[in-house]
């Protein structure tokens, strides 16, 4: 029986999609989520690029499908206590549960954590109320009210700072992949809510791959300003934020005023990555994410697969594709075992 049961670790959009596809393929699934609710990062987002779909609606429709499958057992607020490797798969002890779970395969879909910009003191996050992260802006966009936290008033200027915690040897060297596209998406949303606001994006390179390019073009057409520069410090003068930059187009140093600053934070490996890696003997990359094996969503541990941002940052469409790929890989793995 253990042969046909699969454990999916992580109940974000990747884990949900993996569970749905596994159930469709006829497997018994246990979907494990550390938090109280399913949904992961999706619960924090307003709309999704590139089409502007509502994340709330996407999550609700996926949940309805989950509920329709009786072969998916959902365990929220649950963590793994102990893992024992067996010839037929893995025996897993869940925290607070007596009877161990026996599974033939595991899909790790633990996603990422947002980068915490507090350590970059030059941006004054936590010190200046009007310096917020993109995730905090998403919460405002969900309510369709983007206001300055300091005064509750509409900001006249909103400035996005790119590559916060990305492409920086002082934090993380890698590109976080999704920040340019989400910043462009958020800038467009802000502009739509507040057409008189001056919206600006400060960047090192704009990376909106493939068809996301049209969002970038749209943002330029809608009057969003793009300045190539990296802010070296933020201070507050008379209630307005002053951003120290070299405007690399003009070559002039400026003190750029903005009433709201949005930090386009990247991602880092999820908090419990190391713990989970030890449980399943999975190697980690230099960046601390799970390292994939030779197969597209495979690992070096037999029967353990990896999907979504847990193996490196990616956007939701890519996560969904890897979710389906991992379900298929599990199916192939089981078939090979039988023969």
């Amino acid at each position: 029986m253990a042969m046909d049961r699969v454990l999916v670790v992580g109940g974000g959009i990747t884990g949900i999609q993996t569970s749905l596809d596994l159930a469709q393929l006829g497997f018994e699934v246990t979907l494990l989520e550390r938090e109280k609710e399913l949904g992961g990062k999706l619960t924090q987002l307003s709309t999704l690029f590139p089409k502007g779909d509502s994340s709330r609606e996407l999550l609700a429709s996926k949940r309805r499908k989950l509920e329709a499958h009786h072969s998916i057992k959902i365990k929220t607020a649950t963590a793994i206590e102990k893992v024992t490797s067996m010839p037929s798969g893995y025996q897993i002890v869940l925290r607070g549960e007596g009877k161990p779970l026996e599974v033939g395969a595991v899909v790790v879909a633990t996603g990422f954590d947002p980068f915490d910009p507090t350590i970059l003191e030059e941006y004054g996050y936590g010190r200046h109320k009007d310096v917020i992260t993109a995730f905090e802006l998403e919460a405002m966009l969900k309510e369709e009210k983007v206001l300055r936290p300091s005064s509750g008033l509409l900001p006249r200027q909103i400035t996005f700072l790119q590559c916060i915690g990305s492409r920086d040897r002082n934090t993380n060297r890698y590109c976080s992949y999704f920040c340019c596209t989400y910043a462009v998406k958020e800038a467009l949303s802000v502009k739509k809510l507040n057409p008189h606001a001056e919206v600006c994006i400060m960047y090192m390179d704009i990376r909106t791959p493939y068809l996301y390019e049209h969002l970038y073009t749209e943002a330029r057409e809608k009057g969003i300003t793009f300045i190539k520069s990296r802010v070296s410090g933020i201070s507050e003068h008379g209630g307005t934020l002053a951003l120290d930059i070299e405007n690399t187009i003009t070559g002039e140093t400026e003190s750029f005023s903005s009433e709201l600053v949005v930090l386009s934070i990247g991602g880092v490996p999820a908090a419990h990555t190391k713990e989970l890696a030890a449980h399943f003997k999975l190697p980690l990359s230099d960046q601390g994410f799970f390292e994939r094996g030779d197969e597209p969503v495979g690992t070096t541990s037999p029967g353990v697969f990896i999907a979504g941002a847990a193996s490196g940052l990616k956007d939701i469409p890519h996560c969904l594709a890897e979710a389906s790929a991992s379900a298929l890989s599990v199916s192939i793995f089981f078939r090979q075992r039988k023969t």
Binding site: C163, R169, M204, S229, R230, G233, E246, T248, G251, T253
Partner: protein
């Protein structure tokens, strides 16, 4: 990292202290180099290292500056004090047998000691600078402190360390000084070289290939903390010289020594350690009315701590900061004093045990 990894994001220019007073743009110099264009602004950079520290790519701007300045000649009129310190170096090179820095300081020394003390250009500074500082007393203080912890160092009458020649692009002169000094150091048999100036420490440690230990006196004395027995009262603050701080990551030893002074309270500057702001002049280049503005900012920042004294560990920082304090007529009324850590500690030594 090499300059080829530069993203041209401009963070360097945004954070550059020189940019506050001039149009200098580190990014522009990198861009011109990447595009194989000449006309670099070679002499504006203070080589304070702030840009490299925050550069997302970690571009080694200091090495870049050292390289592009190499064998280029700076306009002599822009070197402060009529290039007298270059002339001194050149004389040392020309008459290697008969020249060297003065080692005539009061205290006990031992020509066989494996620990050497190099006073640097202290007596030359006394001869040509009128900034209200007795530089010679730094050497006396160093000997007094070393004697106090039971060390009678070998006095090192080396040539100039070559720091200024190196950063002025005079590579030939630097290499000559380096060769002469390396030879003398080998002959002396010392295992540890102690200096009282951050520039000497950086130069011997990073720009020479010595196989001995090079220590700033604050690092050396830190090992003997318990033996110092120093007492004082009041508040002091501390300026991290770029050569010791950002160039070599030596931040704690001077602070640990200050905290050894019983009754003394160290209050940090607003911009401290890695973020410490430059004293405004480097290798005698760029000493202008504008650079004085950086020094005034520095002293303003120091006065905000309510300290009576701003301490530092670099003879040049001491000279530049004191110069502004002694400007006549005064640029501004300052209450604060500037002092070298070595003389400060020597003054605080308990007179009787």
């Amino acid at each position: 990292m090499s300059i080829y990894s530069c993203y041209q994001c401009g963070l360097c220019t945004g954070i550059c202290p020189k940019r506050l007073i001039t149009k200098y743009s580190p990014r522009r110099d990198l861009e011109k180099t990447l595009l194989n264009k000449d006309e670099l602004d070679l002499w504006s950079c203070l080589t304070c290292g702030l840009c490299s520290q925050y550069c997302p790519q970690g571009v080694g701007y200091l090495d870049f500056m050292k390289e592009v300045r190499s064998n280029k000649r700076v306009d002599e009129d822009t070197i402060a004090h009529k290039s007298v310190f270059n002339l001194i170096s050149q004389l040392m090179i020309k008459f290697p047998e008969k020249s060297g820095v003065s080692t005539d300081f009061s205290g006990e020394s031992d020509p066989k000691c494996p620990i050497g003390y190099f006073p640097g250009c202290l007596d030359f500074l006394d001869s040509f600078l009128e900034v209200g500082v007795n530089f010679h007393s730094i050497g006396d203080a160093a000997l007094k402190l070393m004697n106090k912890v039971g060390v009678k160092p070998q006095m090192m009458g080396l040539k100039c360390c070559g720091h200024d020649e190196l950063w002025q692009g005079n590579r030939e002169e630097f290499e000559r000084l380096k060769d002469l000094n390396t030879h003398s150091i080998k002959e002396s048999g010392i295992k540890t070289l102690v200096t009282t100036c951050a520039e000497c420490t950086r130069t011997f440690a990073l720009d020479y290939n010595l196989d001995i230990e090079v220590l700033h006196i604050s690092q050396f004395l830190e090992k003997y903390q318990g033996k110092l027995n120093v007492k004082g009262e009041g508040i002091v603050t501390y300026h991290d010289p770029c050569r010791l701080g950002r160039h070599m990551q030596i931040y704690d030893p001077p602070r640990n020594l200050i905290s050894q002074v019983k009754g003394m309270n160290l209050v940090e500057l607003e911009n401290t350690k890695e973020d410490c702001q430059c004293c405004g002049v480097s290798a005698w280049l760029g000493c202008t009315t504008e650079s004085k503005a950086l020094l005034v900012n520095k002293l303003d920042e120091a006065e905000k701590t309510a300290a009576a004294t701003l301490l530092t560990t670099c003879t040049k920082c001491l000279a530049h900061l004191s110069c502004v304090l002694n400007e006549k007529p005064p640029l501004k009324e300052f209450q604060i004093k500037v002092q070298d850590l070595t003389t400060f500690l020597a003054e605080k030594l308990a007179t009787h045990i």
